[in-house]
């Protein structure tokens, strides 16, 4: 599923280090990839601060090493692709050690051990052990080791975004079983009011959580020594007890909404809307170029336009974003999340709007071009003064649809590390597991924004129609 994972390990070109490196090989600022939505390991507290067991432990490791640490929040399914694309130096996110990962990455010594647990719906009495899940449907993160455990036990694995979604699917009876980390599940059961699910058994294998870096990082030994020290001096135990010792406090659903309504709105105004506006503007200009190329009398230029439109229509936006963000670094082109998002969304708009614009231009009578020609206008002037103003009227309704789609599609860039409104909703929901509540709030915001845009669409249409209706 994750495109970048298909790429060879260590594909990041040598000498690509973006921060200064100390003599022992450790970057002065260690960039750490983490989910930020995986409570209680890596999540945001009610004040929005990134925290959790993995975060505090990594902070302690970095302090001991004497380096600064910078967290790069990344969805789990993109974690290793991002590591390979050199978006950060090391992953601290309950990475479970396995042979495959050991072969591909530099792994640290384990810093915490846990087992898997088999979770079923409260009323389920048929699944009592791991062997009972044979032929059943299991909801798992596709790139997590738990999906391997479920598959090895003979279950049919259904891909999920995260643990909370998996449990939600279980509660709704869409799947029969979830296998996940005992610590994470226990924390979930302690946090949520009526979980509706129960642990039936532990899996036999103990899983060991490790840090992962690109092969040849050269500083794992130093980190390993630090982990051993932190375990020996009780620091690790103190952090462990903080997150797994006592039951976490539970915030109500209304508290969650109250605390996040404003931050979410801020993200909409400072991220989602600017991203929409910028990419729509760039996309429209590019779309005009593509449309004109497609209509060119030069067969080669026309072919290029046609090919571009075909590619954009044929490639899912999510895949395009992944190609740009995780794929291009393998050719030495590294883009920031925002740059990649702007390029991907603009390119997408350009492909769709090009056909709209072309259709609008072709819908005008040929006599309009000829009349412009006879009063001495060249191609460019005719286009600008005569053709495009009229084509705009025809194109506004379909382009408005493109704009509304774009506004909603910006949520996809959350997968390439852009923190826009939807990502903000995920971050807010993580510690309480109230994903539904936050998704509903995000949905409401998108809806309201689209309604406002539709209103302006209506006004624009009226204005443009003034010369065709009395």
């Amino acid at each position: 599923m994750t495109l970048g994972l298909a790429a060879p390990a260590g594909a990041a070109p040598a000498g690509d280090v973006t921060t200064a490196v100390r003599q022992d090989g450790i970057p002065e600022t260690l960039r750490v990839g983490t989910e930020g939505v995986y409570s209680p390991f890596s999540y945001h507290d009610s004040k929005g601060k990134l925290t959790g067991y993995d975060i505090e432990l990594m902070d302690a490791v970095a302090a001991k090493l004497g380096v600064k640490v910078e967290y790069v929040e990344t969805p789990w399914d993109a974690m290793f692709a991002a590591l390979e694309a050199d978006k950060f130096d090391i992953v601290a996110n309950q990475v479970t050690r396995n042979d495959e990962r050991a072969a591909k990455y530099d792994l640290s010594v384990p810093y915490i051990d846990t087992t898997g647990v088999v979770v079923v719906a409260e009323g389920n009495s048929t699944i009592k052990s791991l062997t009972d899940i044979k032929g059943k449907r299991a909801a798992e993160n596709l790139t997590s080791n738990w999906s391997d455990v479920a598959r090895d036990a003979g279950a049919e694995v259904v891909g999920m975004e995260g643990m909370t979604e998996s449990i939600e699917a279980l509660r709704q009876g869409r799947v029969d079983v979830v296998i996940n980390d005992k610590l994470a599940i226990s924390n979930y059961l302690a946090t949520v009011k009526n979980p509706g699910v129960k642990i039936v058994t532990e899996t036999k294998d103990v899983s060991q959580s490790v840090y992962a870096a690109r092969k040849g990082s050269g500083y794992m030994d130093e980190i390993n020594r630090t982990i051993v020290e932190l375990k020996a001096n009780g620091t690790e135990k103190r952090i462990y007890d903080k997150y797994f010792g006592a039951a976490s406090s539970e915030a109500s659903r209304w508290d969650l909404i109250r605390n996040n309504a404003w931050p979410l709105l801020v993200k909409m105004v400072t991220a989602t809307i600017p991203l929409t506006a910028i990419t729509f503007a760039i996309g429209l200009v590019a779309a005009l170029g593509v449309a004109l190329a497609r209509m060119s009398s030069n067969p080669f230029v026309s072919f290029l336009g046609r090919a571009y439109i075909s590619a954009i229509r044929g490639i899912p936006l999510l895949v395009l974003l992944f190609l740009i963000f995780f794929g291009l670094p393998q050719f030495g082109i590294k883009l920031s999340p925002w740059t990649a998002a702007i390029i991907g969304l603009s390119a997408n708009v350009a492909g769709y709007a090009a056909e709209t614009i072309r259709g609008a231009i072709l819908s005008l009578p040929r006599g309009q071009w000829e009349a412009a020609q006879t009063i001495g206008m060249g191609y460019g002037t005719s286009l600008r003064r005569i053709i495009l103003p009229q084509a705009a009227r025809v194109a506004v309704p379909p382009l408005s649809n493109t704009l509304l789609s774009l506004l909603k599609d910006t949520s996809l860039v959350s997968t390439i590390l852009v923190v826009e409104m939807f990502r903000q909703a995920q971050i807010a929901a993580a510690p309480t597991f109230e994903f539904f509540t936050m998704y509903a709030l995000a949905a409401l915001y998108y809806w309201v924004a689209c309604t406002i845009l539709s209103y302006f669409q209506g006004r624009t249409e009226t204005r443009l129609n003034r010369y065709v209706t009395a």
Binding site: V301, E370, T374, G376, R385, Q390, Y467
Partner: protein, 273 residues
């Protein structure tokens, strides 16, 4: 007066403003113009008549370079174009020098279309000033002043700020005429300017054209209005099958046609049933 035609400076009064020699044009296998040659004297009105599909529109469009003839030489004023030398390069586009030559050639004449082709998103005044201001770089206020005079002359001074869709067909066509005149062309081309109009609106448009002829504008008019041709034309060309069958004074071509094809055509137009 501001609405009188640009003086035909390069041509002596009574001389030829336009020389058309051996014009040929085919669309695919269909030869639409077969060796068309004629002349238009400065300040004269030429009416082109003939059956539908005979090539009348193609002749007018050739004079305005909306259609590029396959061969033949046309001189308008001091500008001569040999169409045998005008050929698209690779990619279907004309070379730059030829495009510039044709642009200068096109600027010699103004075109009035059967379906007026006014710009619907611009007001009447803007339709008329668009060419002078945007293309010829005339001062906007000056151009607006001239446009108002022209619109006054065609009887539309009350409608300058309306949009085309608010006007009747006859009014729209008169805006089309003003738009063509505003560019001060040496030659004005009319392609069946009244054919798309309701009968009661035809008179206004023909009246305006009659005035223009009287003012000395050089005009080439494709029309089926034979009475108008008889009153206004200095010369009539009867076209059939892409050739000029008969040409001359309207009293002769319409009043006393020499060719059987001309007589047949005129009979059909005058006695449709």
């Amino acid at each position: 007066m501001s609405t009188t035609p640009a003086t035909t400076d390069t041509t002596a009064a009574g001389g030829h403003l336009v020389d058309v020699e051996h014009l040929r044009k085919s669309f695919g296998d269909h030869e639409v113009l077969r060796d068309i040659s004629f002349e238009i004297r400065s300040g004269s009105a030429t009416c082109i008549i003939g059956p539908s599909g005979s090539g009348k529109t193609t002749i007018l469009r050739s004079l305005n370079a909306l259609e590029i003839p396959d061969s033949g030489v046309v001189r308008i004023g001091d500008l001569t174009v040999d169409f045998a030398g005008i050929t698209p390069g690779r990619g279907g586009r004309l070379p730059r020098a030829q495009r510039e030559q044709l642009a200068a050639y096109r600027a010699q004449s103004g075109m009035v279309f059967q379906s007026h082709n006014l710009f619907p998103h611009k007001t009447v005044l803007e339709n008329v000033t668009e060419g002078p201001v945007i293309v010829q770089g005339e001062n906007a206020a000056e151009a607006a002043g001239r446009a108002r005079d022209l619109l006054d002359q065609v009887g539309l001074s009350a409608h300058v700020d309306k949009y085309p869709h608010q006007l009747s067909g006859g009014q729209q066509q008169r805006v089309g005429i003003a738009r063509a005149l505003a560019l001060r062309p040496k030659l004005v081309l009319f392609d069946e300017p009244t054919s798309a109009l309701d009968p009661e609106l035809v008179g206004d448009v023909l009246g305006v054209m009659k005035d223009l002829a009287a003012q000395g504008w050089t005009m080439a008019i494709v029309t089926h209005e034979l009475r108008f041709a008889q009153q206004v034309a200095d010369q009539v060309l009867f076209i059939d099958g892409g050739v000029i069958v008969e040409q001359g004074d309207p009293r002769q071509v319409i009043g006393d046609p020499q060719h059987e094809r001309t007589r047949t055509f005129l009979r059909r137009v005058m006695e449709p049933i």
